[in-house]
Amino acid sequence: MKTVNKPVRKKDAMQLLTGQPVYTDDIAPRDCLVVKLLRSPHASAVIRNIQTDIALKVPGIEAVYTWKDVPQTERRFTLAGQTYPEPSPYDRLLLDRRVRYVGDVVAIVAGADDKCVDKALSLIKVEYQILEPVLDFRTALDNPVLVHPEENWESLCPVGADNKRNLCAHDESSQGDIEKVLEGCDIVLDRVYHTKACQQTMMETFRTFCTIDTYGRLSVVSSTQIVFHCRRIIANALHIPKSMVRVSKPRIGGGFGAKQTSVSEIYPAFVTWKTKKPSKIIFSREESMTASTPRHEMEMHVRLGAMKDGRIRGIDLYTLSNTGAYGEHGPTTVGLSGHKSIPLYGKAEAFRFVSDVVYTNVMSAGAYRGYGATQGLFAVESAVNELASMLHMDPIRLREQNIVRQGEVMPAYYGQENTSCALDRCLAKVREMIKWDEIYPVKDMGNGKVRSVGMGMAMQGSGISGVDVGSAVLKLGDEGIYNLLIGAADMGTGCDTILAQIAAEVLDCEMEDIMVFGADTDASPYDSGSYASSTTYVTGKAVENCALKLREQICRLGAKILSCEYEQVEFDGKEVVLDREHKVSLKEIAAASMCGNDISLEAASTHSSPISPPPFMAGAAEIEMDLQTGETKVVNFAAAVDCGTPINPNLARVQAEGGILQGIGMALTENITYDSKGRVLENSLMQYKIPARVDVGHIQVAFENSYEESGPFGAKSIGEVVINTPLPAVADAVYHACGVRFRELPITPCQIAMGRIRMEQGKSNSNDRERLPDNENI
């Protein structure tokens, strides 16, 4: 292959590295009204009275909108970027008289500049009827206090939702008789794990600007992963026809799923629609940390049944997920906690997976890289690590004995066949990379510090099977250049480049010959958007098919020029050739296509996949711990990834490295805590600690490729799977270092040091509830 599987530079790399103005706020019109939001200080309240007259008198203020400007009985909507009909409930109004978390929107203010808008915000007088909130998600289900008591709450899909029970979704799936299988196991581990509502923390906060275009339509430019869903969401929120909305995205300063929810768009959209003036909203970091769309907090109860020889026979998982005040991505994320963890264990005879997703009065959760799989894999992989230590078995050895293999059917993965899988090779590779056999489980460094290792495995999907749609349009232009039009959103990941590589490979041309455009609802072909690890696999296949189609068209016109049959010619990227004497160059064909021509040299292709082949990964952490202070650093993280063919090995590697560090952050430093009033304490980058470069040693990534027949050039996805392994790996390394088992993240120095002290004092640290049916002491 000439272009695919090559580490070519990203097409936009040098523009980004030299600081060109290509992001939303760089290109917003200078005369935009500044839009800011007044937010609720209460976790649950009804607005009794709201006075805006004084605020409106501030010089420069254009408008102040409150719930009175939004019909309260009209159809609700969701901000989740999902294919219609969305599984996420329609539970929002643009401005609601009831506020449901600290940070919920109370009023929209638009004015000439920041200063006058800030002033106006401080002059709006609100009288709240404060209600009792539901803050603990363990008490939410069937709590007499309801988060969404309203009658126009609506669930479009059969996801088991019931707003009168604070239930956003409920699901059950199983295969085999789990109780019977567990009954027959030598050992049944019974454990509860807990992960928090971590933040994506992309460097560019949520932001959007809006204008009215030549046709009187609302033109929305936003930092979003989902232009097409955004169009629907905005039209739903404003109750205007979808034909009146256009959404496009410039460069995006990171997404990680955060921008798969339409967090900021509807507010300036409303302002511009009402005033017909350009407007923009730039979320502050504080807003991005307190009123956004973080990971779903989950509590996972795992029962893991195995034999003394290490054979894992059954997994029973119950997940309780906290969707917060609104249901964005609530019904769908939770599924991944089971369906993308349990199938790793291919020898299991039975599984059961039950889930509840509940409403509470905290910030609404959303999509974050890993999308529920991260949480579930922390639980299941940690349980397997605990099993290994109970059995005194090497955790990698235990995996090797139990993992799913290529060609096997995965009952917990919707019964899909494992069409491509190099997980076994990933395990072997990671063992070697981390020098597992030298360190496992722990090595005394002789200075009060120890080094230890821990590991975990992961899988994800490649798009949503039978749902995600990717499309591409390719057209030939002057002198044989190509335009590639896509609706997928490059959010820094490099999909513009990756998709161009696929097109260049098929068209036998140089990367420079392909100009990529995306994404704009008016100009791009339909694409679900860049999420669910779909772009390379789903849209990539559409590009491949599209390029094949265009090749055919090129040959047709070439054949016409050569006055022969289309079947007789061949195209080598530069010329359409009949035989040695009779050929026509691509340049000539391009010129001919624009003069008296009736053969379209433009192709469109749409693709959707009935399967979602999982990428696989094994990861191992080597940590160094100061036993007395509890300070812990990942000095080395080794990962082996099976993403099928990496279309661009450089970009795949950086995806992996970046995802791994996010996972390490989740394991050790990134915390979300609420005070008794429901306020988030980690409301800034000063308090919410994403890893800095001094917080980690080295991250090494290797690729162990399988070949996925259904993907473009054998590719599967990579974007999400990479975040998952650090959580169980670091937690187990911590256990190996200090003997204390942590089942809640993040694991802080304080917890480690105090846990050790408690352990030394003979007080058990854990909530171990393993059942040994035969009363055997293993």
């Binding site: 202070t629 000063m686 120095p749 105090m754």
Partner: protein, 269 residues
Amino acid sequence: MITIRRYKKAESIEEAWQLNQQKSSRIIGGMLWLKMGKGTVQTAIDLSGLSLDGIEETEEEFRVGCMATLRQLELHEGLGTYTGGAMKEALRHIVGVQFRNLATVGGSIFGRFGFSDVLTMFLAMDSYVELYKAGVVSMREFAGGGYDRDVLVRILVRKQPASFHYSSVRNSQTDFPALTCAAARFEGPAGADYRFAIGARPGRAVVIEDSGRILSGGDIREQARAFGEYAAAHVPTGSNMRGSAQYRTHLVKVLTERAILQMGGEAGC
């Protein structure tokens, strides 16, 4: 973000002092902490035109101008040598180079923030603040005092025959500390005198000394352990997002004990 109505670059310390007598005035240092406030400052007083941004070293002392940056402090060779690298260790974790190029020593000390590595470090040294009206006041007294409207002009560090050690525990490398510990061992005619400053308790740093002469003669390891326990018993701690009071008390013990062993010339890390 704080609102500032008027900016005034002071032409003399006297002018700065005069302006600062208004309650709504603020002397601005690096602006890093001040900026995050929510209130209104009528007059922001800038001392940056008064040549107070130098670090002078004489035979007897260091004279650090209030507008010297933390980065200057970190890179100052004399201070580095005098403190045996402890000064740099106290500063290198503070956010990043660009931050330390702005943050001023005067701002850090005047603020007397609980989390301050800078205050912790200076408290362990024989140091003083030079206030425009109140004159030279010991750092310890200043650290224990309340905010007034005087102008902090300089920080003075008297050179003593001493060795220093600085350590802090942080949940992540550039985070606020969970605990800071600066230690000094002053060599006197009657033997060594130890002084420890413990900060980020999370309250303001406090000084603890060996008034009971735990650290005099005998096995250094046993003494260090005993002093660690003494310190843990006498330094008040509290809980916040970065650690519990119990953990901090535990850290007081661990960090003081380690500091003693380090300064006692123990071979080791």
